[in-house]
């Protein structure tokens, strides 16, 4: 039977309890939604007493299903003011599953000055330890210290100084399987600040001596179906650019078709996009001893992660992804991959969302605070977040905060959260997702690129966004969305796996219903938190200004958005 850890930061106590029966068949995004609607008041202060921070595993945690050990982090977001589920890879999910811990719930506010760290040892004992010596530390130093103290093979979940300072773009970092770099991020929505507000600097999970054994309704049937599905995903992954290159490969398509954001979502093309593209990346890896095709968690067959070295062959960053490259790159008019890698490293170290930070820089460039394409000025401004200067604090609060402070008129946010690396005028379905997702401007909630007739046209975009938002609620409840993309030919098998694990003979409809319920629960939460239809719109400039790459404006009518979630 799975357990949950209730970590009470008022009393600095940890108790291990059986997982609620109500949550037995839930995981990841679905579990976060049901937990939050019952336990976290939608009107609470995200950095106050009543908010909770929830870490939970997916539906198939503890099994041999590929990518089953993603970790979902949830809470009320200090950035969006609504429900947030932030999904992350790394090694912690695997070890928590081996420990038999399905959920960690962080409650309350510390009375004394902290911070603390939560240590789960090899016998399963969980306790809060004093972490004052790590106060203000960056994620890289912290990981090194914790590995030194508890062993290289531990998994760590940490925040950098940004989380401690309550920056609304603060992220939570999970160590990668293998090298242990703290480069997998539960980045979006500022949950790092929630963790910081609760005075928790780190969670350290050791490999247990006795591995938790998952219970199945029909183990034989599960194993048989799981093996088949894993095989299908592995086969699909063979021709997936994410496996062969990494997520940076996306830029080879978006740079060509106008979906790559350029100069603060100006809608232009960036002729030099290949300077920050796949060939440059592969060449740098090959000549500098870097690596791709790395799995961030054991058993992943997609293996999209990487380890990127500098010109001297020294480690620079890992988990170097399309979003960071697109948004610190062409969206800031920067075309030097190494400089962007340094920015990635910096953001991972202090623990902020690169999407939010990069958009904030782009907005600052548009407002004239620094020149377009100026790498040194960008790095200097980012440093101000670490130094907690007046502007640094504003920058730490994200794109909208910077935009408003500097009087920029074009602030690309929805529900106060900055957009990802996809220009909504040229992938309109993704724009619909940005507008309507309860998560805010989140591309992982439903990226429609390549799935409607014409990305810059109107046909079938609302349909695609609706379908994908439900699909992503299912995916984020059980696996990595990159692996999910390859499961499509055998999708009903996921329903069979559910039945074999949890009993019953419901097939895929059970998961479909869970997906819809999750989405509607999230919307319901946001409504109770005070969001209205007005929060389901893109900023005005996307409706009025043409993207010169394609001539498109975001011309999806409001009514289509209003009825998008009619089920």
């Amino acid at each position: 039977m799975w357990s949950k850890l209730i970590v009470d930061m008022n009393t600095l106590s940890v108790s291990r309890e059986p997982l609620d029966e109500d949550f037995r068949e839930l995981g990841g995004k679905g579990l976060i939604a049901q937990y939050m609607i019952k336990n976290v008041p939608p009107q609470c202060d995200p950095l106050g007493e009543q908010n909770q921070l929830i870490f939970c595993l997916g539906i198939f945690a503890g099994t041999s299903f590929t990518t089953a050990h993603r970790l979902s982090v949830g809470g009320k977001s200090p950035l969006t003011g609504g429900i947030k589920e932030s999904n992350v890879g790394g090694y912690a999910g695997t070890l928590l599953a081996e420990q038999g811990i399905k959920m960690i719930i962080l409650r309350g506010l510390p009375e004394k000055e902290g911070p603390s760290l939560l240590h789960i040892d090899s016998s399963g004992k969980a306790e809060l330890l004093d972490a004052a010596e790590y106060k203000g530390m960056g994620n890289y130093d912290l990981r090194e210290k914790l590995a030194g103290r508890f062993g290289e093979k531990v998994a760590t979940i940490t925040i950098g100084s940004a989380g401690e300072m309550g920056y609304r773009s603060a992220s939570i970092h999970v160590s990668e399987f293998g090298a242990g770099h703290p480069s997998r991020a539960a980045a979006r929505g500022g949950l790092g600040a929630v963790m910081g507000s609760k005075g928790l600097k780190a969670i350290v999970v050791e490999k247990p001596t006795v591995r938790f054994k998952v219970e199945y309704a029909d183990e034989g049937k599960f194993r048989e179906t799981c093996t088949l599905v894993n095989k299908v995903i592995a086969q699909g992954a063979q021709n997936d650019p994410f496996h062969n290159i990494g997520t940076i490969s996306t830029i080879e398509v978006t740079g060509a078709n106008g979906i790559l954001p350029v100069d603060n979502f100006s809608g232009k093309l960036f002729p030099a996009y290949q300077e920050v593209g796949a060939n440059k990346f592969l060449t740098n890896l090959a000549t500098r001893g870097g690596k791709n095709k790395l799995a961030c968690q054991p058993g992943c067959v997609v293996q999209c992660s990487n380890c990127y070295n500098d010109a001297n062959g020294e480690y620079l960053t890992s988990g170097f992804e399309y979003e960071t490259i697109a948004l610190f790159g062409p969206n800031c008019h920067i075309s030097d991959l190494d400089s962007i890698a340094r920015m990635d490293r910096f953001c991972d170290d202090i623990g902020v969302d690169t999407i939010e930070a990069a958009n904030a820089i782009a907005v600052a460039m548009e407002a004239g605070k620094l020149p377009w394409g100026d790498v040194d000025a960008t790095l200097a401004l980012l440093s101000e977040m670490k130094e907690a200067t007046e502007f640094g604090r504003i920058l730490g609060d994200g794109c909208e905060a910077v935009g408003k402070h500097l009087g920029c008129k074009r602030i690309p946010v929805v529900k106060h959260q900055a957009m990802a690396g996809y220009e909504p005028r040229n992938t309109k379905g993704t724009g619909i997702t940005y507008a309507t997702s309860p998560m805010g401007a989140d591309h992982t909630a439903g990226l429609t690129m390549g799935r409607a007739f014409d990305d810059a046209g109107r046909a079938a975009q609302a349909y695609a966004s609706n379908k994908l938002q439900v699909a992503m609620c299912i995916a984020d409840s059980m696996m990595c969305i990159f692996a999910f993309a390859h499961v499509v030919p055998v999708m009903p098998k996921l329903g069979e796996m559910m039945d074999a694990m949890y009993g019953g003979n419901y097939g895929f409809p059970r998961l479909a219903a869970m997906g819809v319920k999750t989405l509607l629960t999230e919307r319901g939460y946001n409504k109770m938190a005070g969001m209205t239809d007005a929060d389901d719109r893109l900023p005005e400039f996307f409706y009025k200004e043409r993207s010169v790459a394609t001539g498109s404006v975001f011309d999806i009518n409001d009514y289509e958005l209003e009825v998008l979630f009619d089920f």
């Binding site: 062969n244 290159i245 080879e252 398509v253 796949a278 592969l282 399309y322 990226l447 690129m449 993309a485």
Partner: protein, 66 residues
């Protein structure tokens, strides 16, 4: 001989990329990248270019975003 995802396609002079893929029974569109002798290319930009004898092509289809 041209190799497409490990399939062998007999080479004829001035064969274009589209012709090679068609001979291999493979589909490609604006979401397709390929590794041509280890170099990443956007299919749409090179569809009508001639392919040399001995070329090794791996087709990569973008299925999700990140």
């Amino acid at each position: 001989m041209i190799y497409v995802n490990e399939k062998e396609i007999p080479y004829t002079p001035n064969m274009t990329l589209v012709q090679v893929l068609s001979a291999a029974g493979e589909e490609a569109d604006e979401m397709t990248l390929l590794l041509l002798n280890g170099k990443v290319m956007n299919f749409m930009h090179h569809a009508f270019e001639p392919i040399e004898d001995g070329a090794k092509i791996k087709l990569l289809h973008i299925v999700s975003g990140g």
